[in-house]
Amino acid sequence: MGNLRPRIAVFAGKCVLLLLRLTGRKGTTLPGAVALKAAPDLLSWMGKQLSGRVILITGTNGKTTTANFLTNLLKLDGIDVIHNTLGANLLTGIATCLLNGLRPGTEQVAVLEVDEATMRHVVPKILPASIVVTNFFRDQMDRYGEVDHVMELVGQAISLGDPAMKLILNADDPLVAALGAIHESVIWYGIESTGLDTGDDGDVRDGRHCLVCGSQLKYQRVFYGGLGHYGCSFCEFARPVPTVPIMDVEAGLDKLQFTIWGMTGTLTSKALYNVYNAAAALIGASMMGVSTATLSLGMQNMETGLGRMERFDAAGRAVVLTLVKNPTGFNQALRVLETETAVEVQFILNDLYADGTDVSWIWDTNLERVLQQAQITRITASGTRAFDMAVRLKYAGWSGQIDVQPGDVQAVKTLLELPHGGSGPLYILSTYTSLYKVRDFLLNYKGGGAVAEV
């Protein structure tokens, strides 16, 4: 009986999935919801099937990109991977992905990105071999609450895991580093050396006070947000020495270069945070037994995936689309604008539930800096809260025209049809609910703009 019920639940879920597909829908959560209803213990059963071969990825930013990198590395080594590709990272989305991909009796590996608040429901059931925690930043306060609360939730989840589980933690984030105190087995990664001008962005530093004693943290170096080389001015708390140091992070043309384990890798992205995502993925892959030869090959031209600094060729026009959802990610995207000799930018700011209904976070971004530093030729404010964005730009000191075009796809279309001689590539910074709509539109623009080769 104990074995039959999950199997029936999986069958029921697959039927729902099939029905949804027949009616032309994607169904990233409903099949899982049905299966979980049929067998509440479904995840434990799935965890047993995948025993020792599950990696969970959580944290505020970089979950999807890290999971994509890791999946690509595993696949390159010939491993059969289950992965929640579309970022459906709540309980029902995870169940859907597993019931769709799981083939009991095989040696599959599951790479699952999991929402921070969902972790404590997933960890005790799946009992993952490893958990990656990317970072903790202020994010959608209406939904998650304060950063302290999110950290607590993830800490709780970790304490519910197998004691032999390996944590893969970002040493450069003091909030993540604090998790090291609650678990024995940790692999730390962090940026050891870089020639990049990372300067202080005036970013919101969610962790600038010591979590142990409350005193100020002193930074010898800040990479972005609260990430850097730090130590408490009063107690013992300090950046852990990375088990896996990331060396010589440098910028190339349209690329970032880094060295791990003496091997040099490249990213087809100019955003520094992707170096951390790459490192976490490489460590995860090596833990799952991927060979050094494959890792060395897989770390060449690592691609960030859907809607993450993704490049398009829209009928001859270069377009870069990226997700922004909180000040830290937004500031990092702005840094990339500064590397262009001329650039046009469109902000799509929505306030639906999945975006966060509070849009005030745009006031914590360093737009003041980018308006001075970047060669911006045109600015468009779009989305359900286009006017909020326009107001922010005005107060950040943009004295030129601010084109207000509420909506998303139609606004992008209008922009692409304007003359753009010499105005440079178009960067679209979008919150979640417009991201995939705009991406689909760009892919099909005028008979299909293939993703541009970089």
Binding site: D142, S360, R385, D388
Partner: protein, 251 residues
């Protein structure tokens, strides 16, 4: 050029709700009118002379940070009073607003002492009051309506504390939509002399340019140099303001 000075208290600690936007708005609106507008940051352990400032501002923060700030603020009680007496205008949001009252009693019964400059107290609760909100300016407080004729105020609430006003203080706004101070008496925020407090984030002044000008004008009058501030083009700000009002109506 005339100098306008703003003190931003605890920008490193009371910072998670983007209330710093209010300081940007105040500063820019003075600059656009040809004033030299300076902002100084003051945080825990630093000395300051708050009465030197035209406006003193403090925003909202997380519980852990708020406890640190509470201790520091108590040591500045006399200074705060002196500033108010010498004509500074003080604007506080959310956590800082709570700390201007007599006390904050947490869910676990712990009592955090406030400055007692606003006759009010706050009690913690389990449910957070979250969402877009709107109020209308009480005609008694300040000039109320500016040349643009707008008397509504829009903001975003996100607090679990319930604030109750005493006799010596009145609500800054009357609630049109949202929970307000405590979800029951239709009042939002408080005003007592030159001291203002509210739960509205957004940031408050970004979509309420009339309120920003009202505060700026009061600050100048309190400091003995009353002026009629010139009108600015607030088309974008008021479009954003109307968008929230419309959103709340159709909900």
């Amino acid at each position: 050029m005339q100098k306008f000075r703003i003190a931003h208290l605890y920008p490193d600690l009371m910072e998670v709700y983007s209330d710093r936007g209010n300081v940007i708005v105040l500063q820019q609106r003075m600059k656009w009118r040809g004033y030299e507008a300076e902002v100084d940051f003051v945080t825990v352990g630093e000395t300051s002379t708050l009465r030197d400032y035209d406006i003193v501002f403090a925003g909202g923060g997380e519980d852990r940070q708020q406890a640190i700030v509470a201790r520091d603020l108590l040591s500045r009680q006399g200074e705060m009073e002196a500033a108010l007496q010498s004509g500074s205008l003080v604007l506080t949001i959310c956590g800082s607003y709570q700390l201007m009252g007599h006390y904050f009693q947490t869910l676990t019964g712990e009592r955090i002492e406030g400055l007692g400059l606003l006759d009010l107290y706050t009690v913690g609760s389990r449910n957070r009051l979250i969402g877009n909100a709107a109020g209308i300016l009480q005609p008694q407080t300040g000039n109320g309506v500016n040349a643009s004729g707008v008397s509504t105020v829009v903001g975003y609430e996100n607090h679990s504390g319930r604030t109750y006003l005493g006799q010596g203080v009145r609500a800054w706004f009357e609630v049109l939509s949202g929970a307000g101070n405590n979800g029951s008496d239709a009042g939002e925020g408080a005003q007592q002399g030159g001291l203002y407090g509210t739960y509205y984030h957004g940031p408050l002044l970004a979509k309420n340019p009339h309120l920003a000008d009202d505060l700026l004008q009061q600050a100048m009058a309190r400091r003995g140099s009353p002026v009629q501030l010139s009108r600015l083009d607030d088309e974008l700000e008021l479009a954003a303001h109307r968008h929230i009002l419309k959103k709340l109506q159709t909900k």
